[in-house]
Amino acid sequence: MQQLPDAAWWARARQARDQLAARYLTHPDVSLIDIGDDPLGLSSLPVLRIHLRRGDGSDLLLPTEIASIPVRVIRGDYRPAG
């Protein structure tokens, strides 16, 4: 069951997302970085998610967490839908 984080948690999560984006968003395999449901279902709070176009992210040397927020890899290759 997912808990509802407070405003302080969201502020911390967005800072952590910015850190991830600054470091990984330019990588050709990374399509999106967001904050959302844990794809592994292990965390009761939302997690940081790196959406990958391809691969499993093993060459990215991703941190396991930032600011105590878990980092997860999720598959996603997006294109404009128009």
Binding site: Q2, W10, A13, R14, R17, A21, L25, T26, V30, S31, L32, I33, D34, I35, G36, D37, P46, R49, R75, G76, D77, Y78, R79, P80, A81, G82
Partner: protein
Amino acid sequence: MDQDRLEFARRQVAANQAVGEAVRRYLFDRPRQINLIDVGQSQATDKPKLVLRAHVEQFIERPQLESIGRPSVTDERIQGYEVEVVEGAYQQQLWGGWGSFSRRSDPLVGGVSVGAEDFPAGTLGGIVRDRATRRLMLLSNWHVLVVQWGLRRGQRIYQPARYDGGTDDDEIGTLERDAMDSSLDAAVALLNGRRQVSARQSGGRLVTGSGRPAIGMLVEKSGRTTGTTYGRITGMFGVQRLRYGWIERVIRDVVTIDPRDGAIVSSGGDSGSWWIDSDSGAAVGLHFAGSDYPERALALDMEEVLTALKVDMLALL
């Protein structure tokens, strides 16, 4: 025959009689454009309640009906049954052609085909107002209304899109401005007043205003290609790199939406659709991208879009 079955048979006979009366009154009254009358569950409540349903391809607003001397069918009761109007366009399914969402729409509603000259079709998300001038505009994506780097204000916009059969007579407005400089794939076009407007979506849903998305929120959208689909917000505050032509841009305030039940949530041509909170009716996201494997939709936080474009939602009509 037990008591329950007797009661069921009695209700069935009564419903059939009510349908017959409604057919005599309405089905052949052509200005009403009703294509089917049946008995079904009321859409106004989640509790079991049977009503008579008048199916129309497109809602006709009350003032328009009254101007031709027809009261709304919803004002009447027939043999004890309330009457509701539902949207439905039916045709023989001989081949997989375009759905009703690619047709001409007057009044303009959200969820129908729109496009710029000589470019593929997207979706008209809905109607908004310029905060400064109060003039009416339509809101969709940058890549639906602007399409190419270098194209600018004044470009003609059609409903339906040229690709869906739109003609010169279907020009509904001109490109006004976009939010790509704010890292949002969004744009507005100034309407030319040739058509009436409505705060409804093509599936019939009334948009009650705008709101913020939230993880776990159940949402729905009406789009030009896949019609009305249903999802659940699973992510927020996304930042993304996405290629538009030869230029890659960073897009911010991305909302991630997964299917509720494993069904499709979006496809090509749905860009510009508004994702709407299923509970409140508030528009919370502007659809702009998606993936098929896994099936997932991406939208932009609607409040950020409205702020960047300096527009407000249309007051309810």
